[in-house]
């Protein structure tokens, strides 16, 4: 019997999830499927993923297709998926398969209790359908691919065209075996790198804690020696007691302040590094310079008058507070433009030979 308990190991995950489900039922009885988040400290409901990234699929309107019991009747309802992609609740599985292999109540395929798995998309989406954006030539085909994956998942969840869908999965597996393998490796690499980074951080933290402890110890020792020194000096020296004490106090202060400055420098450096990740802090930020050219240095070459005898803008000027007012159109801008275009190249030496004269050639080109 003890063996049996081990065999059904994943079934025991349910005890962990009890409270979560019940509270969900009371607070949010929504009909939309949800993914129950499980904290990484708990054993996440039988999903074999220590990192806690994969969670079990869970929906408020789950219903066991075999016994028709639903979440309303049984808040602890947990559906598991068979190797033929049919789902049923734990109590049905217990009832049907405890005495050994038995036919699936839906498709008659012979199943074993062990072959049931929790509902996740792990198998499909991350083990087989794991292509990335970079694996596609353009966005369209990537979107098509995502849609296909969704389609397949939908079919599997809702028991639509199972044989056909399985055929699709098989075909995909065959076509893309190399890529799947590559992406699996990439994911593993990423997980590995993540783990290493975590390890590194942990070590760093430990190191820091250790340093702190050591520092405190040194400080304590120093204090003790200082006290001993005072006593010694008081014994031996001929100066007044108050002076001796003040002198050794000052020395102690100096030592401790030196220590604290070095540690704060260390700490702020670490923070900076963290904040501006690997960016060099040697480049200084220069103060703001509004414009980086001398364009407006030439502005005093002309002044705009308040009025011009301008037949083109007659109508506009007559209707100053009219249709152009609220839109912000300003006739002065048109005049400014006309004037600027008229005078802009005047102080330029004419181009000679192949070398254009330095200076304001750009502006001249702009108005050419």
């Amino acid at each position: 019997m003890s063996n049996r308990a081990n065999v059904g190991g994943w079934l025991k995950g349910k005890t962990v999830r009890k409270s979560g489900i019940i509270s969900n039922v009371h607070t949010a009885r929504s009909s939309t499927p949800q993914v129950q988040s499980t904290s990484s400290t708990l054993f996440s409901g039988g999903v074999k993923d220590a990192s806690g990234r994969t969670t079990e699929y869970f929906s408020m309107d789950d219903q066991c297709p075999v016994c028709k019991s639903d979440r309303y009747l049984n808040p602890k309802l947990r559906l598991l998926v068979s190797s033929c992609y049919h789902k049923m609740c734990e109590s049905c599985i217990d009832r049907l398969f405890t005495l050994g292999p038995a036919p699936c109540p839906i498709c008659q395929k012979v199943l074993r209790k062990l072959a049931f798995t929790p509902q996740t998309f792990e198998d499909l989406s991350s083990k087989e359908f794991n292509k990335r954006r970079e694996d596609f030539f353009d966005l369209h085909s990537y979107n098509d691919y995502l849609e296909e994956v969704e389609d397949i998942t939908f079919n599997l969840i809702n028991d639509v065209d199972i044989p056909q869908t399985e055929a699709r999965i098989l075909a995909h597996r065959k076509e893309n075996s190399a890529l799947i393998e590559l992406n699996l490796q990439r994911e593993e690499q990423y997980a590995q790198a993540l783990k290493e980074q975590e390890e590194l951080e942990r070590q760093e933290k430990e190191q820091r804690a250790l340093e702190l402890r050591r520092e405190q110890e040194i400080e304590r020792e120093e204090r003790e020696t200082a006290q001993r020194e005072i006593i010694d000096r008081l014994e031996t020296s001929t100066k007044s007691a108050a002076k001796v004490i003040a002198k050794s106090r000052a020395e102690a202060m100096k030592r401790s302040s030196a220590r604290s400055t070095t540690t704060t420098v260390l700490r702020s450096n670490a923070q900076l590094l963290r904040a501006r990740a690997a960016q060099s802090t040697v480049v200084p930020d220069p103060p703001h310079v509004p414009l980086q050219d001398d364009w407006y240095a030439y502005e005093d070459l002309y002044t705009i008058r308040d009025q011009y005898d301008d037949m083109y803008s007659d109508a506009v000027r007559k209707d100053r507070e009219g249709i152009m007012r609220a839109g912000g159109y300003q006739v002065e801008e048109a005049w400014d433009r006309a004037l600027r275009c008229a005078v802009a190249g005047l102080d330029l030496a004419p181009l000679s030979g192949l070398n254009p004269s330095p200076g304001r050639t750009d502006s001249a080109v702009a108005f050419a």
Partner: protein, 370 residues
């Protein structure tokens, strides 16, 4: 072969197309390089065939203005040539755009970073305005970032020069979320102030990390603006009730910007509020904005080389990467946005743009947030 054709083939030979990096409504963008120096460029091939009355307007605008504008903060048009029936624009190659950076949750913006981006945007815009040109489609997506961190204004497909007195302009410009209220009210005579409103929206978006005024339709856009900034009175904005498409959208109280931008300094909010003034004539202009106290206050704007860059470009410690980042490097498809690639289209309420469907079957992310 006549002289023009000869010149064209000579030019064509200077550039090599490498691979396609994106496709917009009227152009395909390739990554390429200069044959002689192998300098990276973006080649924008304009589809001509589908327009029955000749070349697309935006292509003409783009060539017309970019040919003349040369500034550190404006994208550079290196060359133009034709191949078969297509027009090809050779542009500077830029790695990413501000939208990618805003959306990259793993990046942290310092106030100094925002200041630097704003200063570069305003310098580029000031340059356009001083040359009497309206950009008319400013949004984070059109502010491209070079590998050295310099920000460059791109996509001059909707640009035009200041109108002569009495000439109408179209009000169907600027992506909706960045469109000023005067255009939403159908105003046909406007000024450089329309670009300044967009800059204000971008400024707010940089601080919020999410679009500031995301209206769902033109009508809803007005409501969104008024909800955020209060319904304007005749005193706030004289004459606005007489604009062609004026409709009352309901009364909303003015709420202080401080309520939403809790961490911003006084200078920051002052500049933001002056970008988002209803009355276009009172809205700050680019040159005055650059001289605003905000830019001189500490911290100084970040040096361009220190500005945050999206994940694909820099290798950062793992702690800042999110779950889906590919550790094996950029892979076959480098995430480089060439100009005009996959932008929020000007008018696509049906969402026909080509973004990845945000539905990867990876529930870990949801689980993390819930």
């Amino acid at each position: 072969m006549d002289a023009v054709e000869k010149a064209n083939t000579a030019r064509q030979k200077r550039w090599v197309k490498d691979r396609k990096v994106g496709e917009g409504t009227y152009a395909v963008v390739y990554q390429g390089r200069e044959a002689s120096t192998s300098r990276k460029v973006a080649i924008k091939k304009i589809k001509v065939g589908q327009f029955k009355d000749g070349l697309d307007m935006s292509a003409i605008r783009e060539v017309k203005y970019l040919r003349e504008l040369h500034h550190q903060n404006v994208i550079e048009l290196l060359d133009v040539f034709s191949s078969k029936t297509n027009l090809n624009l050779v542009l500077e190659f830029l790695d990413s755009d501000l939208e990618m950076i805003i959306q990259d949750r793993s990046l942290v913006f310092l106030p100094a970073d925002i200041k630097a981006w704003m200063a570069m945007t305003l310098r580029g815009l000031e340059f356009c305005h001083r040359n009497f040109m309206l950009h008319r489609d400013l949004k984070p997506n059109n502010l491209l970032i070079a590998s050295d961190g310099q920000l460059k204004i791109a996509d001059f497909g909707l640009a035009r020069d200041f109108a002569d007195p009495g000439h109408k302009m179209t009000c169907q410009v600027i992506t909706r979320w960045y469109r000023p209220p005067e255009l939403l009210f159908g105003c046909r005579y406007y000024s450089s102030a329309v670009d300044i409103w967009s800059v204000g929206c971008i400024f707010a978006e940089l601080m919020l990390r999410t679009p500031y005024l995301p209206g769902e339709s033109d009508m809803d856009q007005l409501k969104t603006i008024f909800r955020a900034l209060g319904t304007p009175t005749e005193e706030d904005w004289p004459g606005h009730t007489k604009l062609p498409d004026y409709v009352p959208v309901g009364q909303f109280p003015r709420t202080p910007l401080r309520d939403l931008f809790t961490a911003a300094s006084g200078d920051t909010l002052n500049l933001l509020s002056r970008f988002l003034v209803y009355e276009p004539r009172r809205r700050i202009n680019a040159r005055d904005a650059l001289n605003h106290a905000y830019f001189f206050a500490l911290p100084h704007p970040s040096h361009p080389s220190k500005l945050p860059k999206p994940a694909a470009q820099t290798s950062r410690p793992l702690e800042e990467l999110d779950g889906n980042v590919d550790m094996a490097g950029a892979g076959p498809g480098v995430k480089a946005a060439a100009p005009n690639k996959l932008k929020r289209k000007l008018t696509s309420p049906d969402g026909t743009d080509l973004r990845p469907l945000a539905r990867r079957l990876d529930f870990t992310q949801h689980a993390k947030h819930s």
